[in-house]
């Protein structure tokens, strides 16, 4: 099934945000926005939900803390309890203080790397991935909205053209995607 996609370009983030607001108010679904930097406040307008990566970071951190605790208990208490100056390692709790630094470091290590890897995988930004922005200028000073006709059944292309004429834009590019 072929799909018609409209790329509407602006040269200012605020102008794009206002146009997006007006289009959404008229029942147009904006599928994507490409910008050189984060446009604050665009997410609720075009219906992008907040990321849950923060929760993931917490879970990865918890995993790290658990691993560090289990590991150190095994190495230092169970498998080879050391007797240092007549103060043997009888229980994890008695020796806990000496294990705080590594517990902390390992928690941070797992949380940071776990989150970073998840971020790259979820974004599909990995070494060798091709660039997907519709215009190379969107990483410089241009801002583009992507509107897919296949997901906008309540407006025709002619109606959308009319709306865009009224609202204004810098450049309009239409593409057929198979």
């Amino acid at each position: 099934m072929s799909d018609k996609v409209l790329y509407v370009m602006y040269d200012d983030d605020e102008v794009l945000k206002n146009s997006a607001k007006q289009l959404v108010a008229k029942g147009v679904k904006i599928n994507e926005v490409f910008s050189p930097f984060p446009i604050h406040g665009i997410d609720p307008i075009i219906g992008v939900k907040n990321t849950r990566l923060g929760i993931m970071a917490f879970l990865y951190g918890l995993t790290g803390l658990t691993l560090a605790t289990v590991g150190m208990r095994y190495f230092m208490i169970v498998d080879w309890p050391m007797n240092i100056g007549g103060k043997p390692n009888f229980s994890y709790l008695d020796n806990m203080l000496a294990f705080v630094p590594i517990s902390f470091e390992f928690t941070v290590m797992c949380a940071a790397h776990g989150m970073a890897i998840t971020y790259l995988l979820r974004n599909k930004t990995l070494p060798g991935m091709p660039a997907q922005n519709p215009d190379p200028r969107t990483t410089d000073d241009k801002f583009v909205m992507e509107i897919r006709m296949s997901e906008n059944h309540n407006v025709t292309e002619a109606e959308l053209d009319g709306m865009l004429q009224e609202i204004g834009y810098l450049e309009l590019d239409k593409k057929e995607i198979k």
């Binding site: 075009i46 992008v48 190495f75 590594i102 940071a112 971020y119 922005n133 990483t139 410089d140």
Partner: protein, 462 residues
């Protein structure tokens, strides 16, 4: 948009547009390198290779080639290690702590400061590795099942905490830095004309496209990484200080070491940032983004942390007398009046007196003076570590064992070599990487740019 007082000095000078920011940062990468770059790179490379050669010789011969003796078992190696780790504290402090405090001036300097951090920690890591002598068994510091029975590394030991702290700090800083670099690499990729450059930056940019959802994630990941890196910065140098503080050597066995070391690390790190940035802004034409106001802010940080360090020195001195322990008192009297008095007083002058000059506004806004002080502070901070380490152990409990430390040729060569290697890395970074977080800077253009602040519109809206 972020509101900012109109009377606050603009962070971006001149009448820049979004496109100008891209141009200004990408131009030095796309143009041919100036002759000066090749000259500096050549010098740094020669010095660096000399250091690498010395390290090879050291590994082949053993650490007996250092100027250590029976009394002084730790000297230049650990001094250099602590010095480099300290320098490596500014980058993550700038990008993480200042992000949490919403300090927008960090955006012009965080990229290069973080690069500096990473290269400095590389250099720091070299010293504990080569001081093992047998580098090839370096993996023994990891808790892995082994052929020696159920023998594990000692998790009670601050030296092992250091292994975990440094490796976590290095790898997390690297990830933090790279995640910020991805969108900027995409900008260079989309501008690149030469096929090889296009290919390289395409791989480096991971196919970044700037989708709204990706930016949403990007901002959260930056914030959470900043939240994680902030306690990490403080923990790393605290743990480095534990290497000394948990021992029973007079002069090392001091409870104020952790905060005192962290303040000293930030102090020396900012000094190194100043040294590098004052040259870089000029060489790469970035005066509009890194200007007097940025330098002034950094000088204030140097002044505050320098004062903490000064207070710590004096506290140490007082406590050594107040403790009533004669060995403790002697350690400090010996520092100030013994054979190493010159090192102690160099440290005092460089670290306690010089940052106090920053109280004077014309001085802290003078670029030439700042450059001079930044070098002085780095020399002073090297002496601080040398004083703490060598003067505390060269005269121990048995006068017959008293000794002096004289650095060998290899001691000096390895140290100078790491400085060379550091500059090799930094010059490569300045040549091929975006030295300014260009896309992040665009977000403050409207709030803190000069032309926007001067426009009548700005005053109307805010």
């Amino acid at each position: 948009m972020q509101k900012e007082a109109a009377i606050r000095e603009p962070l971006i000078l001149g009448h820049k547009t979004y496109h100008d920011v891209t141009e200004d940062v990408c131009r030095p990468i796309e143009d041919k390198a100036p002759k000066m770059w090749y000259i500096l790179f050549g010098i740094a490379l020669v010095i660096g290779l000399y250091g690498v050669g010395s390290i090879m010789y050291l590994l082949g011969t053993g650490i007996g080639v250092w100027g250590l003796n029976k009394t002084i078992g730790w000297a230049w190696d650990i001094t250099n290690f602590v010095w480099w780790v300290g320098i490596g504290h500014a980058g993550t402090l700038i990008s993480a702590v200042l992000l949490l405090f919403r300090q927008k001036w960090r955006m012009a300097i965080n990229r290069s400061a973080e690069a500096m951090t990473i290269f400095a920690v590389f250099m720091a890591g070299t010293f504990p590795l080569i001081h093992m002598g047998r580098l090839w068994v370096g993996y023994w510091v990891m808790p892995i099942p082994n052929q020696f029975g159920s023998l594990w590394v000692n998790f009670n030991s601050p030296l092992l905490w250091d292994v975990f702290a440094i490796s976590t700090y290095l790898s997390v800083s690297l990830v933090f830095w790279y995640i910020g670099l991805i969108p900027d690499f995409a900008t260079i990729r989309d501008r690149a004309k030469k096929p090889l450059a296009k290919k390289m930056y395409s791989i480096l940019s991971f196919g970044w496209s700037g989708r709204a959802k990706h930016w949403n994630r990007f901002e959260l990941v930056s914030l959470v990484l900043a939240g994680l890196a902030t306690p990490l910065v403080f923990s790393v140098h605290s743990i480095v200080s534990f290497d000394f503080a948990t021992s029973v050597i007079p002069g090392w066995h001091t409870t104020i070491f952790p905060p005192y070391f962290v303040a000293g690390a930030v102090f020396s790190g900012f000094a190194m940032v100043q040294t590098l940035l004052l040259i870089m802004r000029k060489a790469m034409g970035l005066e509009a983004y890194i200007h007097t106001k940025h330098v002034e802010y950094m000088n204030i940080v140097i002044m505050v942390t320098g004062s903490i360090v000064g207070t710590a020195y004096i506290t140490e001195l007082f406590i050594s007398w107040y403790s009533g322990v004669e060995y403790e008192s002697y350690a400090f009297i010996n520092r100030a009046t013994g054979p190493y008095w010159w090192a102690y007083w160099s440290m005092m002058t460089c670290n306690v007196v010089s940052p106090q000059l920053m109280w004077f506004r014309p001085l802290r806004r003078s670029l030439l003076f700042t450059f001079f002080i930044s070098i002085v502070v780095n020399i002073g901070m090297w002496f601080e570590r040398y004083v703490i380490i060598v003067t505390s152990i060269h005269r121990d409990y048995i006068p017959a064992a008293w000794s002096m430390h004289f650095p060998s040729h290899i001691d000096i060569a390895v140290y100078i070599g790491t400085i060379g290697l550091f500059f090799v890395f930094f010059l490569l970074f300045a040549r091929f990487f975006p030295v300014l977080a260009l896309n992040e800077v665009k977000t403050i253009l409207k709030g803190s740019g000069q032309s926007y602040k001067e426009s009548p519109d700005y005053h109307k809206h805010h």
